[in-house]
């Protein structure tokens, strides 16, 4: 079996399986913990309005902006770049369409009812480059900022690595870098994405899911009290 076949076959299935198992395990493992009913008299009845914190916390209050804007902008740069490249690069879309076909017997259009748009390669290349640059800056920031350095652990560095890896290998494959046969580059790219899938549920990348739970529950908790969001 060639490396590419391995990446497309067993590695893909296993990583997807591990991803699904891990995400459910971790999410249910905390979401099914007990909750106590809050018996205090709410100040505001419509606690659900606190869900607005999910959107609200996407940018710091102006009072905090001074020290955090830099990190936020970098964060946005690599998240947007990453997500757009992930979901709107032509071969990716076709790849996902293939999942849909393989798993559910229908294409993306049938599955989501959407006409999945795609981005021109040039734009994706630019986005990936921005993402990579922002991620490098994020790493440097993590290393030079005393606060971030102190509170960082293996998870932070490894998650960084598995995030930048698919971007970097994707660019390398796109540019036929390094004189490697394209298929090996492609296989490495796939494998790096699979590494991301495998690591995802076990490290901090899980924030992509938990962030909504956290912001939502904090928002509702605070809204109930009329406290500042």
């Amino acid at each position: 079996m060639s490396l590419l076949d391995f990446a497309r076959g067993p590695a893909l299935q296993w990583s997807l399986g591990i991803f699904v198992v891990g995400v459910l395990w971790r999410l249910l493992g905390v979401l099914l913990l007990r909750t106590r009913k809050d018996l205090s008299e709410p100040r505001r009845d419509a606690a659900w309005k606190g869900l607005r914190l999910i959107a609200l916390r996407s940018w710091p209050r102006k009072e905090f902006l001074g020290g955090t804007a830099f990190g936020e902008v970098l964060g946005y740069a690599f998240h947007i770049g990453f997500l757009l490249a992930l979901f709107f690069y032509v071969p990716h879309v076709l790849f996902f369409a293939d999942i849909a076909r393989g798993l559910f017997g229908t294409d993306l259009h049938g599955l989501t009812g959407l006409n999945w748009p795609t981005l021109p390669n040039g734009v994706v290349t630019l986005l990936s480059a921005i993402s990579i640059a922002a991620l490098v800056a994020v790493l440097i920031h993590r290393i030079v900022s005393p606060v971030k350095r102190l509170i960082s652990n293996f998870d932070d560095y490894f998650s960084w690595l598995v995030t930048i890896a698919p971007l970097a290998t994707g660019m390398a494959a796109f540019a036929h870098l390094g004189g490697w046969p394209y298929e090996r580059l492609l296989a490495v790219h796939l494998l790096s994405a699979e590494l991301l899938l495998v690591w995802f549920p076990f490290g901090k990348l899980m924030h992509a899911f938990t962030i909504f739970v956290e912001r939502g529950s904090t928002g509702m908790l605070f809204e109930r009290k009329g406290a500042s969001l």
Partner: protein, 349 residues
């Protein structure tokens, strides 16, 4: 056999200086040489001695030979091909049997260490009787002839990578030249078959500079195999816009949209089809409406159906995914239960 200079030979066949220079220009361009080098190419070619070439066909379908001899009836490429001193090619030569083998032995002795060996077809490593020439098995013949070769051109995907004889389940144990000969420079000119000008181009390059062209990781001349079909495909703009033909007779196919979804291997295939094209530059498969099947890449026959899109991943079935969901849920529920129990224990403590 005598070996006059190539220039003389061509002139004797009525090739004008103009045509010759035109050929040099095209070839140089194909090889990615700068125009400044043109006079050098021309001079070198003119002065080149007609090198002795021995061509050994093994497990092959003669497609490669067809490609080079038939496709370009009276072009310069074919003349160049004739220009070489083809001392042994049992499909083409008039002599047969003992006489042919003797001719080969003579040529080998006269040019020991200098002749060029062209191989088409793969070499069976299983039963020796699978393929023989004049009673001699392919493997030992190859090893014998390779011994005095200056370099070997593995012509076509079979010789270069094992090709169709080497495809699953490979009953003859077919292998590429490079799997057998380790001590000689090998140029893989892959393709099933390779494009004629690519063959002559490689020969030209070898004749001109007297050394091997720059090769890629798979031993193919970079000048012809440096880019993918996809890199130079005229349907590329459709790909970029996400416009794909979904079947061979839908509106997209009629509009000439990208064939990716119909299994085109262009993105992973390194060859010059999209620029050089076939049949005197008339067209190439994608232009004719069919995706590239990746014939110039190793193992192209074993990479899944030709009509499955390239991005195909084996995602498993909905059932395996369902199992993952089940396992994940079970683990999540169990770990939450365990945590609750620890909590209760702590409370009782």
């Amino acid at each position: 056999m005598s070996s006059p200079l190539l220039g003389e030979f061509l002139r004797s066949r009525g090739v004008t200086r103009r045509d010759f220079l035109q050929f040099c220009t095209t070839t140089a361009a194909l090889m990615g040489l700068s125009p400044a080098l043109l006079p050098r190419v021309a001079a070198a070619l003119e002065q080149a001695r007609r090198p002795s070439v021995i061509w050994l066909p093994f497990q092959e379908c003669t497609g490669c030979t067809e490609s080079i001899t038939r496709a370009h009836g009276s072009t310069l490429e074919s003349l160049i091909f004739q220009g070489i001193s083809l001392d042994y090619q049992h499909t083409l030569q008039a002599a047969a049997g003992e006489a042919a083998e003797r001719a080969r032995e003579t040529a080998m002795q006269e040019n020991w260490g200098r002749y060029l060996l062209i191989v088409d077809g793969s070499i069976p490593t299983g039963n020796k009787g699978f393929s023989t020439v004049a009673g001699r098995d392919n493997l030992s013949l190859l090893q014998h002839v390779a011994g005095g070769a200056a370099a070997i051109v593995a012509l076509g995907s079979c010789a270069a990578f094992g090709g169709i004889p080497g495809a699953n389940p490979n009953p003859t144990g077919a292998v590429a030249v490079s799997a057998v000969v380790k001590d000689k420079p090998i140029i893989n000119v892959s393709g099933c078959p390779p494009i004629p000008v690519v063959i002559t181009g490689v020969l030209t390059q070898y004749l001109t500079f007297g050394k091997l062209p720059e090769l890629d990781a798979l031993g193919r001349p970079r000048s012809f195999y440096g880019q993918t079909i996809h890199d130079r495909c005229y349907r590329r703009p459709f790909y970029e816009r996400g416009q794909f033909a979904d079947s061979f007779d839908d509106e997209g196919a009629r509009q000439g949209w990208c064939l990716y979804k119909l299994g085109c291997r262009g993105p992973t295939t390194h060859n010059a089809c999209a620029t050089v094209k076939w049949n005197d530059g008339t067209s190439f498969p994608i232009e004719a409406g069919h995706g590239c099947i990746g014939c110039a890449e190793p193992g192209f026959w074993d990479k899944g159906g030709f009509y499955q899109p390239l991005s195909t991943g084996q995602w498993g079935s909905a059932r395996t995914l369902g199992m993952a969901v089940g396992v994940g849920t079970a683990l999540g529920v169990a770990s939450a239960a365990l945590a609750r129990k620890r909590q209760k224990d702590a409370e009782d403590a």
